[in-house]
C-alpha cells in the first residue's frame, strides 16, 4: 500500500508546479510514450529529480528522527534539535566558502565536510549535556539548541560576509530541495539503504536500548556501542541531506512520533512507516513551497516548521 501511495504522490508532485502538466502527460512521459518534448524536459530535467530527492530526504530525516528518539529515549529528539543539522550546514557553508571564495581545491567533497562538522556538533552537544555518567534528556535538548544556534549564527555570518559567492543564506538555514539533480539521488539512496540496513540488522538491540540502559546490560548488550553505531550512520546520512538541501527541521521530529502512535516502537514497522510518511510529508511540503508561491518559492524548512506548529 505504501508503494502505491508513493507512486501516486510522485505523479501528483511531478504534475504540479509553475507549469502545470496534466496527469495524463506525466504518466505518458513515465511510460516513455510522450509526444510533448517541453513536458519531457520539465519532467525529467527539473521536476523528477527534485520530487524523488525530496522523498528520499524526507525518508532519511524521519528515519534518523525515529532512531534518535528511540536511542535517546525521548520523543523530542531529532537531528535538528540536537544540533546535528546545524553542524552539517556549517560544514557545507565552510566548504563552499573555501572552494568558491578562496579557490582552494579540497580533497574531500561537501558531504565529508558536512559530516565532520555534524560530528563535532554532536560531540559538543553530548559532552555539554553529560553529567557524570548520565546524559539527562533536558540538558541534551538544551545544549543541542545552544550548539545549533551557535553554528547557525556562524553560518549566517559567513554567508553574509561572502554573499556574492555563496548560495543564499536561506538555502542553508531553511532548506530547499530545488538544487537536487539526478546525480544526488545516488548518494541519498545509498544512505537511505544503509540506514534501513542498520535498523533491520540491529532491530532487537535498538529496541532494548530504547527500553533502557540497565535492561540492555541485563540482556548482555552494551548500550553505548549500539548508540554509537546508530548515531554514526544517522549523523552521516543527515550530513549528506544537509549538504544537498540545507537544514529542514521538524520532519524528523513529527513524523516518527506520529508513525509510532500507529506502529508502536517496533523498529521494522516504525522505520518503514517513517520512511514512507517522512517522504510523502516532505513531498507535500515541497509542493506547498513551490506551488502556492509560484513562480517564487517559500523555503521548505519554513513550510515544515509551519506544519510542525500545528502539531505542537
Amino acid at each position: 500500500m505504501g508503494i502505491v501511495f508513493i507512486i501516486l504522490s510522485i505523479i501528483l508532485f511531478t504534475s504540479l508546479g509553475t507549469v502545470k502538466i496534466p496527469f495524463k502527460n506525466v504518466i505518458l512521459a513515465f511510460a516513455n510514450n510522450s509526444d510533448n518534448p517541453l513536458y519531457d524536459r520539465i519532467i525529467f530535467n527539473l521536476r523528477l529529480p527534485r520530487v524523488i530527492g525530496t522523498l528520499l530526504i524526507g525518508a532519511i530525516l524521519a528515519i534518523a528522527g525515529n532512531d534518535f528518539q528511540m536511542i535517546i529515549k525521548n520523543p523530542l529528539a531529532d537531528p535538528f534539535i540536537i544540533g546535528i543539522s546545524s553542524g552539517a550546514s556549517f560544514g557545507a557553508v565552510i566548504y563552499t566558502a573555501l572552494k568558491s571564495v578562496y579557490g582552494i581545491d579540497l580533497p574531500f567533497g561537501i558531504e565529508t565536510f558536512a559530516f565532520i562538522f555534524a560530528l563535532i556538533a554532536t560531540i559538543i552537544t553530548f559532552s555539554l549535556a553529560k553529567e557524570g555518567k548520565k546524559i539527562p534528556v533536558v540538558s541534551l535538548i538544551l545544549s543541542g539548541v545552544i550548539v545549533g544556534f551557535v553554528f547557525n549564527s556562524i553560518s549566517t555570518l559567513f554567508t553574509v560576509l561572502f554573499w556574492q559567492n555563496l548560495l543564499h543564506v536561506n538555502f542553508w538555514l531553511m532548506g530547499s530541495t530545488g538544487n537536487i539533480v539526478w546525480n544526488d539521488l545516488i548518494i541519498l539512496t545509498i544512505f537511505l539503504v544503509l540506514q534501513i540496513a542498520v535498523n533491520f540488522i540491529f532491530k532487537k538491540h535498538i529496541e532494548v536500548v530504547a527500553m533502557g540502559d540497565e535492561i540492555s546490560i541485563f540482556s548482555g548488550i552494551n548500550p553505548e556501542k549500539i548508540k554509537l553505531i546508530v548515531l554514526t550512520i544517522n549523523v552521516f546520512a543527515v550530513s549528506v541531506v544537509v549538504s544537498k538541501a540545507g537544514i529542514i527541521g521538524f520532519v524528523g521530529l513529527i513524523i516518527p512520533h506520529l508513525v509510532r502512535k500507529i506502529t508502536g516502537p517496533n523498529i521494522y514497522y516504525s522505520t518503514i512507516g517513517s520512511m514512507i510518511y517522512g517522504g510523502i510529508f516532505l513531498g507535500f511540503a515541497d509542493l506547498f513551497s513551490r506551488y502556492l508561491f509560484r513562480p517564487t518559492e517559500l523555503p521548505i524548512g519554513v513550510t515544515t516548521s509551519l506544519v510542525g506548529l500545528l502539531f505542537l
Binding site: E207, V208, M211, I215, I217, S219, G220, I221, P265, N266
Partner: protein, 254 residues
C-alpha cells in the same frame, strides 16, 4: 556445589561509601537473601555482580571463573536480574519486553518463540502478551519482569527488592513463584529484601548487611533475633514463630 563466591571484595564510591565482603557464597538450588538498612550496600552487591560497577579488589567467582573474564552475553546466560521496578518511555508490548531475555542466546535468525510462550504460560502472563507494558498494574509489571528473567534460563536469579512496591497478595504470589523455580528447577536465588519477614519465610540462608559489611549470616532461625534486629535496625521488636512454616517473624514495637 557453589555457583557463586565473593572473596575479600573491596569497593568504594568516590571514597564516600565502602563495601567490604570477606566471604559470600551461593549454592546450587539455594534461596539466599540479603537484608539490611538503606545504604548498607545491598544493591551495590547486585551492581558488582552484573558488572554495572567494577570492584576495586578481591574475587567474584562464577562457575569457577572470575566474573570480569566473562563476555556480557556469556555472563547473562548465567545470571538474570529482576530490578526493583522497570519503566520505559515507549509503548513496548509485554512480549517485546519478555523476548529481550533471549538476546544473550540470539544467533542471526533465532526466534526462541517456544520457550517464551512456555514461560509465559507458567507465570500466567500469556493473556497480556499483546498488551502495552506501561498500561499494566505494578504487580503485573513485576510478573512480566520475572518472566523476562525466567526466559533467560539462567542458573542464578538476582532479585533487587523486586516486590518492594507491590501489594501483599501479589508479593506472596511472586515470591512463591520464585521459590518454586528454586525448589523444582534447582535455580539459585540471591534476593535483596526490605521486608525481614518475607526474607525469613522464604530463604534458606540470610546475609545481614550494615555499613557496607556482612554483620551476620546464617539460617533465618539463627540470625533473626531480637538482639540482632535491635543492633541492625535500631528498633525494639518481638520475634514470634510463623504458625505453619516455623520460621521467625518480626513484630515491631512502637
Amino acid at each position: 556445589m557453589k555457583l557463586l563466591e565473593i572473596k575479600n571484595l573491596m569497593f568504594s564510591y568516590n571514597n564516600h561509601f565502602n563495601l567490604e565482603i570477606e566471604y559470600l557464597y551461593l549454592e546450587k538450588g539455594e534461596f539466599v537473601s540479603i537484608i539490611g538498612p538503606n545504604g548498607s550496600g545491598k544493591t551495590t552487591v547486585l551492581k558488582l555482580l552484573t558488572l554495572l560497577e567494577k570492584k576495586k579488589s578481591g574475587e567474584i567467582i562464577l562457575f569457577d571463573k572470575e566474573i570480569e573474564n566473562y563476555s556480557k552475553k556469556e555472563l547473562f546466560k548465567k545470571i538474570s536480574v529482576v530490578p526493583q521496578e522497570f519503566f520505559t518511555s515507549f509503548d513496548f508490548t509485554v512480549e517485546d519486553i519478555i523476548s529481550t531475555g533471549r538476546i544473550p542466546y540470539e544467533t542471526l535468525f533465532s526466534k526462541d518463540e517456544d520457550i517464551i510462550i512456555k514461560t509465559m504460560k507458567k507465570t500466567n502472563t500469556l493473556k497480556f502478551k499483546e498488551r502495552v507494558y506501561n498500561t499494566l498494574s505494578g504487580g503485573e509489571k513485576q510478573r512480566v519482569m520475572l518472566t523476562r528473567a525466567l526466559v533467560q534460563n539462567t542458573d542464578i536469579l538476582l532479585l533487587d527488592e523486586f516486590v518492594s512496591q507491590i501489594d501483599p497478595g501479589y508479593t506472596q504470589q511472586l515470591v512463591r513463584m520464585v521459590k518454586e523455580e528454586s525448589v523444582k528447577n534447582n535455580k539459585s536465588v540471591l534476593s535483596i529484601f526490605h521486608d525481614v519477614n518475607l526474607a525469613s519465610l522464604y530463604s534458606d540462608r540470610i546475609y545481614i548487611f550494615k555499613e557496607g559489611k556482612i554483620k551476620y549470616s546464617g539460617k533465618p532461625e539463627e540470625i533473626i533475633t531480637e538482639k540482632i534486629m535491635k543492633e541492625i535496625f535500631d528498633i525494639d521488636c518481638i520475634i514470634t514463630e510463623h504458625p505453619t512454616k516455623k520460621k521467625p517473624q518480626v513484630i515491631f514495637e512502637y
